[in-house]
Symmetry: C2
Subunit: 334 residues, 2 copies
Amino acid sequence: MVFAGSTLTSTIPGITAAGPSPEATLYTPTLDVEYLVAGKPLTLDVIPVTPEGIPTPALVTRASLSLVESKHLVVVDAGARYEPRIPHTRLPSRRTGGRIDVEDAMPEGTARRLYEEARLLARSLVNRDTVVMLGETIPAGTTTALAILEALGYRAVGRVSSSMPGNPHGLKESVVRRALERVRGVNDVYSIVDRVGDPVHISIAGFAAGSLESGATVILAGGTQMMAVLGILSRLGQTGGIAVATTRWLVEDETSDILGLLREVSPATPLIVVNISFADAPYPGLRAYEEGYVKEGVGMGGAVLAAVVRGGASLGEVERRVYEEYARLVGRGV
Amino acid sequence: MVFAGSTLTSTIPGITAAGPSPEATLYTPTLDVEYLVAGKPLTLDVIPVTPEGIPTPALVTRASLSLVESKHLVVVDAGARYEPRIPHTRLPSRRTGGRIDVEDAMPEGTARRLYEEARLLARSLVNRDTVVMLGETIPAGTTTALAILEALGYRAVGRVSSSMPGNPHGLKESVVRRALERVRGVNDVYSIVDRVGDPVHISIAGFAAGSLESGATVILAGGTQMMAVLGILSRLGQTGGIAVATTRWLVEDETSDILGLLREVSPATPLIVVNISFADAPYPGLRAYEEGYVKEGVGMGGAVLAAVVRGGASLGEVERRVYEEYARLVGRGV
């Protein structure tokens, strides 16, 4: 499952690298899921690669999932700005989140509805004794995750990750400080998300809760954003049966601290790290992942895990498949 | 999977009983899937039972599926007039079909897009060696099915079923005759559906095709409407690996001829009949099913099959669960 959505927070200049311009970040979730399912973006005629040749993490997800025969790939629209032009699941209360430094993320009551809708979806879709993997695509999601975590009482400033090597902690903190002024004295987790969160994290939390109720195991496939999901679930009393899966790049990142966050938010939750490396990639755009670009997103770490554990592939096979997919995307032979 | 959609053909007075008034039939697919997933209609505050107490077939589907532990229930919006207020899957090209006696069902090209989108969805969702069950909710769907079948060259007039004991064959035939004037000389199956079909049958065909390509077995859970799906698939060269599941009421119906249609459209396709009976039901509204009301819809026959084969229930248990659900709905004890 990939949950797609936007927050206008991503249009704050410099806050995210997930798009060629601040406004263009609002297209990214739509293009990501279109590429993931259809093999190319449909809403815009673009290649999901930066001018420097650095690809979307959806490339790693797609390449990895191609090595897994038995899978259900479901795209959930929790609030994409542009409706994906692929078949996708829609939460009735989906909406793009507001820019949290200047406005509430969503009208009061939305977070609770999204949570319950996603929970209902899980109870329709998920069977006992299965493993459900949940990924996200929401530019500036680490900033809203930071706001959610701080509002829930965790010390998260300076610890969330970024899609850039130079993590703009100062900018994120100033955005979040302004957001937090609107939740002083607010304790209700749904109200917190309505005011300073976004539509994606609460939806993932609801789906996780419904999956656990159905008797499944949940893997949150993502980085520090998933700490916000765990924070929400922890506040709602639901953290057993969950693991987090992410990449080596995220865990080794010196500008963020997923292990510290996890210890604070849900210490009993295991963290699964896939040891993928693009150090030997034949393309500079992929080697950039070794320099701190991208790190996580679109369930990348979880997809690699699935390729290895369910698909029986070696990490080398996953890496080669990624290189082939990159070559296909940018139109060059390996 | 339940495919929901509308055709304005259902607003022709007298053509369908699936709604309290011609205009209200446009709400029925939305209310059916809301009730199926959430336990009650959400878009309108109604009980899905006619003034005479005859319930929607979705009641039988819901009661039956409650006896199956391992299932994925997916609602696909192929063209509902009102967006269902439950999580649901959306085909990007979905649209409500036109009234086929006076206008084309859909703009040229829509049927092919719906087919390909549903096929892509199946390839994302469906695993090898699984069984996929496909149901429908589209009032007046037997009329558009009749038009599709006739346009494809089958003799279907007088052979499709109806939700009423008095099957209005004359009315259906006159609607379809007018529609068929617009497909004289048209051979392309997609063009036929664009002009005289609806969004649901072609979407089910696309999903069936994608499921077969994924190595799954397909059960078309429905009555004579599914003959139109088979007709489309047959024309596209895809009929192996498919069975049809329906109810005793449909097969015993003297106003329609599913076996004759099946022999003509796809003779090698097996028909699975569930021997359910409400003759001993404690409610007249359910006993009406024995008098020719409803007969099929919302995957009812397939859901009973699932309860028996996958859920291990006896038919008596299914029937009792239906009676309990009816009592819950109308607020009376058994």
